[in-house]
Amino acid sequence: MPGIPSDSSSLIPFALEGSSQPPPVYPLQHGLRAPIHRIHISWSRGNLLNVTCLRPPPDQQEEMAREDDEIGGKAVEVLLGGAILEGNIGEHKRRRIAYESVKSYAFLHDKKISLAKMETGDNLSAPALTYWWQYTLEYSKSIRDILGNARLHRPLIEDPKNFLKPEEVEQPIGTKAAWELMEIFYVDMQLLSWLPERLVDWLEGYDSLLSKTETVHSKLAILQRKVTSMRVVEDEPGYWNGLAAALAVGWLDVVAKLLRLHGSYDPDQFDKRETENGLVEAVVLLVSEMPRMRPNLPNGKLGICYQTKHDYIKGLEKWRVKVSGLESSPFWVHCNHRPTRDGLINLLHILLGDAKHIADATSHWLELFISHLLYIRPLTNGLEGMGNLAEKCMNLKPSANNGLTSLLAGILSENPEIVLADCLKAFGPWIVAHAVDLLTANSEYTDGLLNEERYQLGGASIGELYMLVYAQALASHPLTWQVAPAYLSTCLNQGRGLLEILLLRQPVQNYRVVLKTLEICHLYELGNISTHIMKMAGMYQWKHGHKGLGIYWFQQSRDKTRLSQIAHKLFDNIGKSLSDDSFKQWEGLMELLGSDVGIAGGLEFLHKYREFKRSLQQIVNGGTVEAAKKSTELLVQLMRNPSTPQRFWLPLLLDSVKLLEWRSGPLLGVSETNLLLGKLQELSMAKLRPDFHGGELKPNALGDVRLALAKNLGRAILEES
């Protein structure tokens, strides 16, 4: 809802008495001058609300006096429940993510169904669970790719002064950070043994999202901007602060690059500062030899990897001895440059895991948490230990929490409900709907918690509820609503009902859109819904004068009642006599009615009537006895058919006087003539009724027909006897 609230024209919702929190106020920009006379509110698709504001109807005099530019009212659309994803992603990027992710989601659920089919019992067997876990991992990775690949612009010649990694083409988005965090903790079981290192990597990618100003990343970004203009870097306190910060969160490559910018590497000064340079290089060496408990390192990253805990502890001890050795080395006395000496010693303290130095170097509690994991408690395992540590860090460094940090806190507190609720609040319904499968992948407890049917949710589970929320958000946009059925179909309790409502609410004006909607009905086997939609489309087209298209939809929906009603309307249109010229116009419609499959209802008559007219035409132009006989047959069929309207009886009989007076002998038998006579009698009786619709035939028409029929009867009796 764009715009600034103004006192006179904003709409304020009715405040509930006694609620502890004040209700949120959403100003609505409608651009009308006060006073507002009336407001109409109605639901549109999904969570879209239509609000119509009307000004009071103008007085007559006012009308005269006023300029014409004043609008009487305005309708605005209000999207409730916010965005599908967090706010800083563009609208079309959101739709793209919605389109792409439905493929992965549908694929995963197909696999789920096929796995469930293979199993006989209620619970999946061990091999099936492994398969399931693998599918979920693939799913998680494909979703991660959809959220954006970090494509880097690597400059051909690297500037030694560029120590930060080049800016990514796409800024990291919080949704992706949250997704990766959940993947680390819930799906990727292989990573459990090196969870701390995985978190170090995660922080490196998304540190800038924690806070705008108070992060290691922001500190380094400022330093990066300044470093090009600094002449003597080692004199600047910002340089040493940046170094300490980068080291604390484990960005070793950045530390090494930064240290090599030290003035003692300058060939001109090398002779004078040999010892100093030796000390800097020794620290670089120690940093690049830091033992790390992980299987491998990506290119360009520093450290020595250890696969097993045993090797790692041995390596760590050796390395720590080296670090302490350097710290207590006599060479420090010969280092004349005081900031260098202090700065390097500070770095060594961080490497040795001095809690105070680490706390000084980091800005955010999450960074402090990561550096504790790196330097003080590298073997922390299990969520409980991590949770305690995180709490401690939060107390040490109280910083403003955002969606990501509260998500991590939620994960560490082992409460999936909180995780999902936090995600929904911070990143919108998309991530929650897709994350349910991540959370339940490895935990039977979570699976039970999220997929248990709850009475207070109308039989739906928590997982289903989140799915429905996302589907509603999708359904509120005319471009994404087609994605929603894939999610609704997985909701066993409420999904089908909502899917039916969604389909019935689609516009029926454009037949191509109707066909697309029907396709979805077909896909989910919603035959009765498609019948409804076809009827609605038929009504719309019929009302708008597109009779053919309307009849087509009614035929498709096999709606006999409406077709019969339409038939009566059409007969009025045709009028009393159907001339041959006017039939040309009806040709197309007749073709439609004549198709063998379509139900024509009362309209069947039209088709037969035309056939009869055609054959009669041939006889007038000089036809054979066979042709005349055929026409007579058609006449009898028409007269026998109950769907032939009474008002057409007389014109029909009048048209066939020629047949009745056929020269070479009677064409109608006795019984058939009697039938026609009976109809004629019925007609003369009906003529007495006030509601009789006689038409504009000549007054003696009835008499003419009666005479012809009587003559024919006489001839037929003679013939048959």
């Binding site: 563009g90 609208e91 079309h92 739709r95 793209r96 389109y99 439905v102 493929k103 471009l479 087609q482 454009n510 037949y511 066909l515 697309k516 396709e519 077909h522 087209q541 708008h544 004068g545 597109h546 009779k547 053919g548 298209l549 087509y552 035929q555 498709q556 040309k584 116009q585 009806w586 040709e587 197309g588 419609l589 073709e591 439609l592 004549g594 198709s595 063998d596 499959v597 379509g598």
Partner: protein
């Protein structure tokens, strides 16, 4: 089911658009290095001309928006053609207007508007579902609408003339039109029938084809018709229930089913959803001269495939969303442009060497 085509020899690039794309058409290109394509987009409704370089070293050349022609409402039909060395684009809209404008063939910039008709009484009232321009001699544009009117618009030197061929007063709805010769054209609409019209014999269609759709179990709508310039007596038609059939004017009673539920019971239908567009495919070699020429089709369930009489369909694409429209470049029949439901445009190049795949 269908054979999936030899994908190794294809290059397929997807170009994301940030708005829905309705129809796509290649534009005649003057330079082999710069290709032009027109597409109808929504929000706001317009025809956009995009260019891309076909010879760039980048394996995934970007589509660049060159120019845009605003429309009063969403486009329903789009066609491009050449006339007197001009590249022209014709588009019809859902509010019954027709727009023709010229485009610079070198850079794709819009040059001038030639026609913009919109008249509820004398032209169309309601959506024009299909247009086709007769390019070999008269340059007449046939328009067929949901309102049951068929009009011919003559694009003269200095004036525009408009003839009403048929006024059915809404009793029928037309959804497809295609010229067969300078004086004859074919229309299709609701119901499986086709109407063959001759300008020289006004008053009504000169021939009616009564189609039987899917062994008489369903009826449907016709969405697209194509007529090959060398075989003017055969129309190929695409419509509901995955139906693609050919109708020969010389054997009016029997249509040749190429795909859909009308096929013999033993073969499974290839696609059961709406076939949005059909076109003769000049790239696929013809098997026999007595058979219907190869036809390409796109469908609501995301298939792009080449159909041949009595052969299994060759599937080129299988997308997770509908393919609303496609066009085969008349100058390079190996190249196909497709418009996907999910706001993107794909360009498929067939028959290149495998090495280019990288």
């Amino acid at each position: 089911m269908a054979d999936s085509g030899d994908r190794r020899r294809f290059i397929y690039n997807l170009h994301e658009q940030s708005k829905p794309v309705g129809a796509v058409r290649w534009l005649p290109s003057v330079s082999p290095f710069l290709r032009l394509a027109a597409m109808s987009v929504l929000s706001p409704p317009a025809i956009e001309i995009h260019s891309f370089s076909s010879q760039s070293p980048n394996p995934n050349p970007d589509l660049n928006l060159v120019s845009s022609y605003p429309l009063p409402s969403s486009a329903t039909s789009l066609t491009s053609f050449k006339s007197h060395n001009y590249t022209l684009i014709a588009a019809s809209t859902s509010t019954g207007s027709l727009h023709i404008f010229s485009v610079n063939p070198y850079d794709g910039k819009i040059e001038s508007q030639i026609i913009s008709i919109s008249d509820k009484d004398s032209f169309h009232c309601g959506p024009i579902q299909s247009i086709d321009v007769e390019t070999s001699s008269t340059g007449e544009c046939a328009t067929a609408g949901e309102d049951g009117r068929v009009n011919l618009v003559l694009i003269g030197e200095d004036k525009v003339e408009n003839f009403r061929v048929c006024e059915s007063d809404g009793l029928v709805a037309y959804s497809a039109v295609k010229w067969g010769s300078p004086v004859e054209f074919v229309t299709g609409g609701v119901g499986p029938g086709l109407q063959w019209w001759d300008k020289r014999r006004p008053g009504g269609p000169v021939a009616q084809f009564k189609g039987v759709w899917g062994r008489g179990t369903v009826t449907g709508m016709i969405h697209s018709i194509d007529i090959h310039p060398s075989r003017k007596h055969t129309c190929v038609v695409g419509g509901s229930s995955g139906a693609v059939y050919a109708w020969d004017l010389r054997w009016q009673q029997q249509a040749i089913t190429l795909a859909g539920t009308g096929l013999e019971a033993k073969s499974q239908p290839f696609s059961e959803s709406e076939v949005w567009e059909v076109k003769y495919d000049a790239f696929t070699p013809q098997v026999s001269s007595t058979k219907v020429l190869p036809v390409m089709m796109c469908s609501e369930d995301g298939f792009l495939a080449v159909l041949q009489q009595d052969e299994r369909p060759v599937q080129l694409l299988e997308e997770p969303c509908a393919i609303n429209s496609f066009d085969i470049d008349p100058q390079n029949p190996s190249d196909v442009i497709v418009a996907l439901e999910w706001e993107s445009v794909g360009i498929l190049s067939r028959g290149r060497e495998e090495t280019e795949m990288a």
